[in-house]
Symmetry: C2
Subunit: 238 residues, 2 copies
Amino acid sequence: MTQKLSHYATLSPCSLDNIARLEREERAYQKGVEIHQVGERNANLYVVRHGWLYSYADMKDGRRQIVEIHHPGDIIGFPDIAFNERTTVLRAAEDVLLCPFPKKDLDEVFTSAPQLAALLFALAVRNQVVLTDFLRANGRMNARERIAYFLLDLMARLRIANKMMTTTFRLPLNQTEISDVLGLTNVYVSRSFTALQKDGLIRRENGTVEVLKEDELVRLCDFVDHHTRIDTSWFPSG
Amino acid sequence: MTQKLSHYATLSPCSLDNIARLEREERAYQKGVEIHQVGERNANLYVVRHGWLYSYADMKDGRRQIVEIHHPGDIIGFPDIAFNERTTVLRAAEDVLLCPFPKKDLDEVFTSAPQLAALLFALAVRNQVVLTDFLRANGRMNARERIAYFLLDLMARLRIANKMMTTTFRLPLNQTEISDVLGLTNVYVSRSFTALQKDGLIRRENGTVEVLKEDELVRLCDFVDHHTRIDTSWFPSG
DNA sequence: CGATCGGTTGATAGGAATCAAAACCAGTGG
DNA sequence: CCACTGGTTTTGATTCCTATCAACCGATCG
């Protein structure tokens, strides 16, 4: 996490200290396990150490919407700290390692590390922009465009942690899960993926995706990267 | 704004002081005016004094997605403080009054009013939950359900400011705008509204909507109110 | 009074859902 | 080594919801 946060701002020793405290404990979960359910009391947040997870919301009739995908270095649970109960289900997309820490630790951050507080705040609101982009994709794009958007968004996020990343990456989600991200069906995800591949924009190989024509994908969905850089000029210096 | 924020927590004098400083200036905009465009430098945030506004994102071919509706008491621009440039267009849905204040004023809040900082933080992440609900609506609901969701969401928000509110409210958005919120077309919004009215769930009268069977609307879209209450137990006391 | 805007209604088209079956693939175990 | 299993992807046929295109109506306004 330190690495991911330091990507955005130079942190004071005090802030770094606070971060370290958040990653004391470590816990493993197997692929497919649901770490918490809607309605549970949420005492903890989590830092992702290893593996992908996602958060989703169900409707009573089984329709499902995945609302966020969590990668190593991410903090899980911010959206819920404003509530007493979880609003989404958290599920491990593969075998994962998490560092749980109590919500109460945040108050320490706010009183003693204003700089870190500002950074967390900035990341929280950045997330709103990301969700907003996502909303535009789900609301106004057709299936091909959504897949394009989905791949570019993932790449932008993965590049933060791994600056050397090429255009090939592992995608540990099946097509049903992807369809639940994009508001489609697994069948149509399959068809759209195949179409993109036939047009030579991407290539797939057991669990990995290679983006062959990134610029064309970008044009396809008007992609703008809101992950890589954020404005830290207004931060307090402490 | 004081009223809206006090709805959630008892604020210290210092916090109240900080809020007052944010509402010194006041500026009027006419219906339809676009207060800022995508790509402009964003030095200011705004507190809404009067009237409705909305933020939207366009695609090059004209498709549009409204990503947020702003009501009196709301702060506009949080999502953008993480960036140097605006990511959405802000537009007045009717004649409005705004209080602009510089982004830099926030640093003062973070260093001197940790309680207010925590509240703003909580509201920012609460917004993520709201966006997430919205995403579920756009991703997995049909037209009728989306309209139901849209109306209930508006009511929940309006009730914060006006606790006595009945089930009738003003809706200063035309059907094209509503379609841009819900990822539909103006034509289909008209049909769906008419259908809901024919079924006796709602009633419309020149610019106002009356919800006749709230519980049925709630069932229709599995609505959960994430506006009314937030958890403030972890806040620092200062 | 013509013009414009917002809402409604009708006819048609199309994109994605749905249903169903087949193909594929990695294990697993006999 | 091969049959068997469960999960995943692919393919095909059909349906349906919503988009699209177009006309019309009513209200408002200069």
